[in-house]
Symmetry: C2
Subunit: 153 residues, 2 copies
């Protein structure tokens, strides 16, 4: 199990404590442990694996609390999600090289093309993870419709 350096973890925990205080959010034992688990891992855990890791020391921890906490951390900007959040799998039948704009609120996904972005230089170290098959750019933002509904954050 890969771990974040202890000093860095403490730094992230302090950021969380500050952000929680600023937002008027209570610092419960559950929230601190859940944040410590996700901030301390290099493996981008799922809610389920966070729950599993903590249930040894907190046998009554509920799934609901893990999910609520992780989404709350996402709202605070301390955590993000890989890919378009929740939702179901989305399919893409565009055979040309292209890139994606993805709305963080509603999941809307649109293609855009860019010859320049098709030719990115990926650091050599990445091939230590495995063989590279494709590379593309993901732009995350808020789509026009979602902005119209809820202008600011």
């Amino acid at each position: 199990m890969l771990k974040v350096d202890g000093h860095e973890l403490e730094r992230r925990l302090e950021l969380f404590r500050e952000a929680a205080r600023a937002a008027g959010i209570k610092l419960t034992h559950q929230r601190l442990e859940i944040f410590r688990e996700v901030a301390g891992s290099l493996e981008h855990p799922s809610a389920e694996s966070v729950h599993r890791a903590l249930s040894a020391s907190m046998p009554t921890l509920s799934h609901d609390t893990v999910y609520r906490t992780l989404w709350m951390l996402t709202d605070l900007g301390l955590v993000s999600t890989l890919g378009p959040k929740r939702e179901s799998v989305r399919f893409d039948a565009n055979p040309e090289p292209h890139h994606h704009f993805v709305c963080l609120r509603c999941g809307l996904a649109r293609d855009f093309v860019s010859a320049e972005l098709n030719e990115l230089r990926i650091p050599d170290s990445v091939s230590d993870f495995g063989s590279i098959q494709a590379t593309h750019v993901e732009v995350h933002g808020i789509c026009n419709d979602c902005q119209a509904q809820q202008p600011a954050d």
Copy 2:
């Protein structure tokens, strides 16, 4: 509902017919309609929305068929998925700008950093979709562990 140009759609359908023939895969009505639906949309539909769109003209179409067909098209290389396929949501508490290597088989996700990739120029046209919040590069491939288990494809 945004649609792909009719001529382009026919071209994609022809590619599918060829690929199916080459792979010894039967060209059923269901498969053709499902492919037409996903290849004709600019909105990267989910399996559920494909099913919904087709159920008017094919009331007995099953969910299973839609899923099987979409994964089959993915295996043929005619369709890809947005984000790490299936699985649950994955969380990321790394506050520094970074990019991802994602294994297409097992979903393993690892961070890597690159000052150069942090400074990508995104086409102006993308801001027509909405406000941009973050940009990062996703490298898709097969991780070392998965390659060891099943060397070639």
